[in-house]
Point group: C2
């Protein structure tokens, strides 16, 4: 591997928008609360960080990522959460792009600022999942795959990612142990994150011998069913200083699509939408992969993190397995990935995940990440994937 830190502090791109505050609910099995209450918890943290903000005066729009109305039998989440954030009658829009729902919401919130339309907006995400049975959750998640050609035939998301994993193994020699090492790393990081769903280490042996869910994916190759909510407040870069001493700029925001069904894709070893979203984000940020100091990638399954390394240019196609083996993406490595614990250990409340990744970037780039802080991180990237890759968004952030 030839990963080399770039001169990231010299990135000259103009900020699109600036994060002036952020909040995250505790992730986990949150009993006895509605999703709207989890969202209020995230929002309260964001308001508490930002005492100069008068939310009803300053925030002009709300974008909410929320994947499934089936979990709580509740759609129309935009105005519902606007109410619980104390923002009525602000315009409020729910975005649904499967597990990339709040990543896409973040992108439109960013463009709402960069376009000059609004001075400040809120973007968040929420999902309340654990009160449902595993078969119910599996069914609701499957709605992000193709109904007539995938769901109907019984294939679920572990199955779809298992197909990608076997293709990657066949083409590149990627191993089950390499995948398990992603779990070991992310559980290690999650154990350092007091908001993570699972704050416990896992050994390579335990991960490798856990029960098979859809071969080659085992229990520890799969992310968690989690309750949680996330929130950012974005402002025009010119006025961010009124609200915070520790702004974080959004300097790249890419989004792309691919066919919803795997059967229609050009390749099963790469996510074309993620490559394209990354290409656009890098271009906007005037950045190269080597400029990235730290990243949160969409590790819904361990193979997805390996493919993400390749799609984002952190390594060459097929080298993802070796990259995890060499420790490059551990805290202390040259590009730490998923310091939060990732979807694997922090948890994956699907609608909340994209903005939750950006929350981790906010903490890291403002040196508030506690025991998992990556010293000197200046430029960060988040990679949020919907379904099996029909949607992807990539955002790039820079310490101000």
């Amino acid at each position: 591997m030839s990963w080399r830190k770039g001169g990231s502090t010299s990135l000259s791109s103009k900020p699109l928008a600036t994060i002036i505050s952020a909040g995250l609910s505790k992730f986990g099995r949150r009993e006895g609360v509605y999703g709207r209450e989890l969202f209020a918890e995230a929002v309260k943290e964001a308001y508490d960080r930002c005492p100069n903000l008068d939310p009803r005066r300053d925030i002009k729009a709300l974008f909410v990522g929320h994947m499934g109305e089936s979990y709580e039998h509740q759609g129309h989440t935009g105005p519902t959460l606007a109410d619980w954030a104390g923002l009525l009658p602000v315009q409020a829009t729910r975005v649904e792009n499967a597990c990339a729902s709040s990543g896409v919401a973040l992108r439109w919130a960013t463009l709402a600022i960069s376009s000059g339309a609004y001075d400040a907006v809120m973007v968040g995400g929420v999902e309340k999942m654990t009160h449902r049975t595993t078969p119910e959750v599996t069914e609701y998640l499957a709605m992000a795959a193709d109904y007539p050609f995938e769901q109907w035939h019984g294939i679920t998301f572990p199955g779809l990612y298992a197909l990608m994993a076997t293709a990657h193994m066949h083409h590149y020699g990627t191993t089950e142990e390499q995948m398990a090492r992603v779990a070991v790393k992310n559980h290690h990081n999650g154990a350092l994150n007091p908001k993570a769903h699972m704050q416990k280490e896992v050994t390579l042996e335990k991960a490798m011998t856990s029960r098979v869910i859809a071969w080659p994916l085992k229990l520890y190759d799969c992310s968690l069913i989690t309750d949680g909510a996330s929130c950012l407040i974005l402002a025009k870069p010119e006025i961010a200083g009124k609200f915070t001493d520790t702004p974080v700029h959004v300097i790249g925001a890419g989004q792309a699509s691919d066919a919803i069904g795997l059967y229609e894709r050009e390749s099963c070893t790469t996510l074309k939408a993620a490559q394209l979203a990354g290409r656009d984000a890098y271009k906007m940020a005037k950045a190269k992969p080597q400029d990235i100091d730290i990243a949160e990638t969409h590790d819904c399954f361990t193979i997805a993190e390996i493919i993400a390394y390749e799609d984002l240019g952190f390594c060459s196609p097929g080298d993802g397995g070796r990259m995890i083996e060499e420790g490059t993406t551990e805290i202390g490595g040259s590009i730490p990935v998923n310091t939060s614990g990732g979807l694997k250990a922090k948890g994956h409340p699907v609608g909340a995940t994209g903005v939750g990744q950006a929350y981790e970037m906010y903490l890291q780039l403002t040196e508030q990440a506690g025991r998992r802080q990556v010293e000197g991180a200046t430029v960060g990237l988040t990679h949020n994937v919907g379904g099996s890759g029909a949607t992807a968004t990539v955002h790039i952030f820079r310490r101000a």
Copy 2:
């Protein structure tokens, strides 16, 4: 009533975006097709109208209004419809704001153009409903109301709008016959629209004696469960002439929210979100209610059209019932409303409705509305409401 046509042709507002083409599937009970196929039908009409457009080259983003993942067990509709529109790998976003889903999508598509982010985008909407039983549809629609405080107690949308109707009757003396007259007018218009779900007239007597659904609302006070899809192509005003000789400008786009539960509202005789969305749209358009020549309002129930007249300033609060009685909003009246037949007769495939309303404006303002054409219409307005009014959008259009 003192409705007076304004000098609408002289509106000086700068266009936000320009409709260069539009398409609508046949609305109705469409058996044996998926929603994506209905969307392709709408898209094909839009492409056929616009031979100079190279969709994959020119269209840079897709916004899709789609309300319910339950109907077809299918979420993640953005990339799915991008595929069926031949637009992959274009960025594609699903917006869900209940029955205002595609109205909200239209607003963000408009702002994506007006901000300068993109030269051309597609916005559409879709819903496939009629293959489900009425109890199922009733349940799925109810997800747009508040779960813990409304749905859970068994109140459905006819019930919620019945509460508004009785409040309006109590405060203003609005009558069941006035509501029924909305149905008579809209069924008359629908009979002139070859794409309407129900192309048949209804007499006042038949409407008044139809069975009670939720008193005072009877069968003919309720809009239809319908399959359908809608589509617009928007471009920067400066380049619209490359694609069409009959452009229609979007000159106002407002959106606002209110509490999702009726119990939390200040009033049950008005939709505050619609008032605020209208206020913003009029301001952007530099227009007054008197400038509007023609409108499509959200007549999910007949009382909703009466309230819309008042919220949009077409008459004073409480005068909506008299306005329908006096024929002001008929074709041939001074401000024809729901020339398409409205949700009442054209049908209400919920996710498709907002953009479907704009399709009618496109036809009317380009003199393609056939037997229901309003001669000389120059400025039009659409009003799209989500749920019982927690979301509302208002758009204003001007013939170029």
